[in-house]
Symmetry: D2
């Protein structure tokens, strides 16, 4: 145990996610403080910085990352801006926590991996925060123990009460199912090799043009079948569940629990209204783990390879969704740095 | 309320299922008694009849059905013998409870329906006993109420601890998944239009030559997607679960419950070892319902049409399983008698 | 297995409970039929008998019990009429299923036991139907196995949605808590030695003059502490729960379960509205077990001793409730017939 | 949102609890650092301080509290040392987080309150960490909302797998049940007015001389009955549960939940092995809340009055336990500072 140094962090992007990370680092996390915020919207960055001692506002991410009091970077800008921000961070050899997606497509993710390999060491942790959720961690630990035998199937449910009007069918895959892609790869230690997307008749809750819900099936190189129900207008709340079916048993997470109430002819409890309530602890744990590892001089957590694999599976998923047929995923050979 | 007459029942087939029905009628059910048992194995029939007052043993089902003290028939012989037994029952115009399958294939089921239509009234109740399970009935009632909106998906789990050595891959469909076919059709009031079967790498528990577990997807004419995990060597017990995902909520049945024990670092309960413990009440309720309806002069429950539809979907399922691709189901137009 | 004879049953008392037993024997139970009904209300008895083939209506219970076609008796008349009916049944040496209470007080219960002892064999099964509930049976079996060690405490909850206006504070003990008395004695194989009753400030739902809920503590001769929450105006439904705390673990029954629904921000299920839904199977099983034992020439189930012990504990309970202090229970030595 | 100053904290007492607070402040909590540790065991204090930048070791708590870099104090020394440490903290007008008990008896707690009143403002938060547990907070919020009506009873379970050999019967009350005393007072906004302790025959797991388990009943000035099962050798794990019975419903917390596993004939999950797993988040939240309030210049959370009331109820509880009878609790009138 030691009183660690304090990490000075630049937060790139001050939208909902970025502002939440600023709050988290300032009020929740140990061992770090926000020394820079950068946003194209100069006014928003300035207002955010104003409330924090020793924090400077920038419009240019490069300038923020060049500052003396910046030891590490959180990238929370829109996906298309990630590649440039990552390459700049690499120039300054700064550790990065990059919100998902690493980049919006596999080709740009490949470029990021190439640049990181030139550095010769990992610099990036990708923001797949479910890997830090207490229940997913328990499931991972159980599967890794082999206690139930080899995993044969993984059933997933991903339900949102509703989505914003601009939510598209591609976003079902790229924004929502991408989490199941990552946890499946991580829980199983396997790569996804093919994607199939099936669509029932849409819910009356689904806005015009959004075929919601959908049912996605992944095949993996280890022979495990992964299915995902994605339903983003289910109205009743936010619910993420996973059940691993192994040779000698099954394990399920994401069940409703907590306070149980009997009243008015019913027993039960409340469903989380949104991902904030469900995953707030996972976000806190993710950022703390990144700060802790960085203070130790290490890089842990999901890597650029995980970001690339997610992008490649998403591309196949969106094609499978559009064309209505099983679509194979093609990955490059895994570079040594990411083994 | 009335003291009803007592139904004299001939039980055709005295294997496990037939003998259990004899016990049920004799010791559990109100309003019926076994007056005849028939089996090719004359000795087995004789021994069974010997223990029951007023019960005669036969080797020929026709002779049993012709007896004066026989008012109704239970067919519990092997599937290939069902068609002949059903046609004989029709000759005597006797009400029949026919164990599943109605007949082993769609063609013979069509012949049975034709013969029943010539009688001009329904005579057959097919032994899909899950329709009499208390939880399935609650789910059916909830779906029919429309309270949660239209059903969009139906997720099913069907797990057996293990199976006998002669269990084949076709039996996965014909003996096990056939129950999910029937409850899906019944719960949704929809017909199944296509079947897809997917196979993960088999469990180490699966015997040579049996690809177990499998994952089956049905499409319906109402646009609902139905998926079924079938795993018959899961070792931990017998478990049948269903979750309906509707527009505004979900409903799940088949959860473990009952006595909850804390001991040795764990909380929880026991899983039913086999279908007997899980569905014994459903069998009792099914036979009582059939006796009650028969005493009222009515025929209710799953019809020959349901038996035919199951046979047709099974045929498509076995083809889909063998050929590894989506296979459509072709049904004749539904005859007026079964509407 | 055998086709048994059919038991001819006289039902004494045709109120709610009696009429329900008539329905049960006629429509649910195997091996019995109602051949006589008796009620002071001649019209009610006649109407009930009219619907049943071969059933005669009586106003005098003795006449009913003397009839040739009566093999056994169910006593479902009001408690104060039980002693006379039981003694009459003993004169005819008829097996009796006597609804609780055996008699309204310990003194009359003693007289019944004396008369039964003169017969020289048990004739009475008392209607403590919880002993036939599937979950209580599981708990009993677990406790008897010794798997969790010796029982140290038993926590009970007994909640009714509401009660009729004439419900008195004594009825809390005599009609409701009496069930917990019996199951505690039965589950633990111990006698209750003292009763304490505590009263919180009454619920606003409680009618004037009824201090509801109350909290009752039993001590036993085996050193187990038994506590009972009795709350008969809880509004949300009917709920009976028990948790046994043993040396190495606990076991709990009566949890809500069955279909689980997610909707409108909540997960959960429905609470039984009343004891009929919760215990209908226990009543069916109780009466079937009594018919089966009677056809075998046996008497099983709760005995007159159990009825007497319940009456003695109730008397102590009502005194404890009125006087606000721990009250000891005095039982006679257990006669040989009931050991 | 603002980058706050960083609180310099002196931790008095470096045993298990103190060392854990040092770790928490250093590695988990935002906005604070440990600048002083004090322990009579100079070596232990020195070793602990050595690992932390800018932290000085003391043997004398007064010296630690007098240091310039100390802004606030955590008292984690043995209970008998608390009074002196608190009075010293008052001399320096330092905010204090004092581990429970405030002091070991009501008389010394009164002296602490008098000294705090002379300061004219609250300085003390007592370490009743359950008030910061997420489930207790939900229950509190539900009760305060009045949604279920007034609370009538509160049932509590407090189970430990085992205790150290020196654990005494008084510690059952003073160390374990004291938590239920505090949460009852807090959840109900009521004072406890009488205590009764009942003892079943001890478990075979209980060491010689420790009557374990026990059953404790509190009466409150609001007419609510509170019962507590305390069982500290239950072997199966650590379990804390509470059920509030209100006029129109009940609410229960502390149920087992999280990952649910089917295997080897059982469904269920794991029970927490000890209070660390069960309440680690509550400790983190408690200390963060104290740091946050202190940085804002406020004092929140359980007060010296709560510490005094707990001590007074414990004294009555230990008497009730020894004498085997209902014992009343006498509190002074609540001083204005604590209203």
């Amino acid at each position: 145990m030691t009183q660690r140094g304090t990490l000075g962090i630049a937060v790139i992007g001050t939208g909902r996610m970025g502002a939440d990370h600023v709050r988290r680092i300032t009020e929740v996390i140990s061992g770090a403080r926000v020394t820079a915020v950068a946003d194209l919207d100069a006014e928003r960055a300035k207002q955010l910085a104003a409330g924090i001692d020793g924090c400077t506002a920038y419009t240019d991410p490069s300038a923020a990352m060049a500052a003396d009091d910046v030891d590490a970077v959180i990238i929370a800008s829109p996906g298309p801006a990630h590649e440039a921000a990552l390459l700049t961070a690499f120039e300054h050899d700064l550790p990065v926590l990059c919100e998902k997606p690493l980049t919006p497509d596999a080709a740009s993710a490949l470029r990021v991996m190439e640049a990181e390999q030139k550095l010769g060491h990992r610099r990036v942790q990708v923001g797949f925060m479910r890997r830090y959720d207490a229940e997913y961690l328990k499931l991972k630990s159980l599967l890794d123990s082999g206690e139930l035998g080899r995993p044969l199937m993984l059933h997933n449910r991903h339900r949102n009460a509703d989505v914003l009007p601009y939510f598209t069918e591609q976003m079902l895959i790229n924004d929502s199912v991408v989490h199941e892609m990552d946890v499946a790869r991580w829980l199983l230690n396997q790569e996804i090799t093919a994607v199939t997307v099936m669509k029932p008749k849409p819910s009356g809750n689904a806005p015009e043009g959004l075929s919601d819900p959908q049912f996605v099936v992944f095949e993996t190189d280890g022979g495990t079948l992964v299915d995902v129900e994605i339903y983003v207008n289910c109205r009743f709340g936010y619910q993420v569940q996973a059940e691993a079916v192994c040779e000698n048993g099954t394990a399920r997470i994401g069940e409703a629990h907590g306070m149980l109430v009997n009243t008015a002819g019913r027993w039960g409890g409340s469903v989380a209204p949104d991902f904030v309530e469900r995953f707030v602890d996972a976000y806190d744990r993710e950022v703390q783990a990144w700060v802790d590892a960085t203070l130790r001089g290490e890089v842990t957590g999901p890597s650029s390879w995980d970001g690339y694999a997610a992008a490649a599976v998403c591309e196949a998923g969106v094609r499978a969704q559009a064309e209505g047929r099983r679509t194979e995923v093609r990955l490059i050979e895994r570079p040594a740095l990411y083994r």
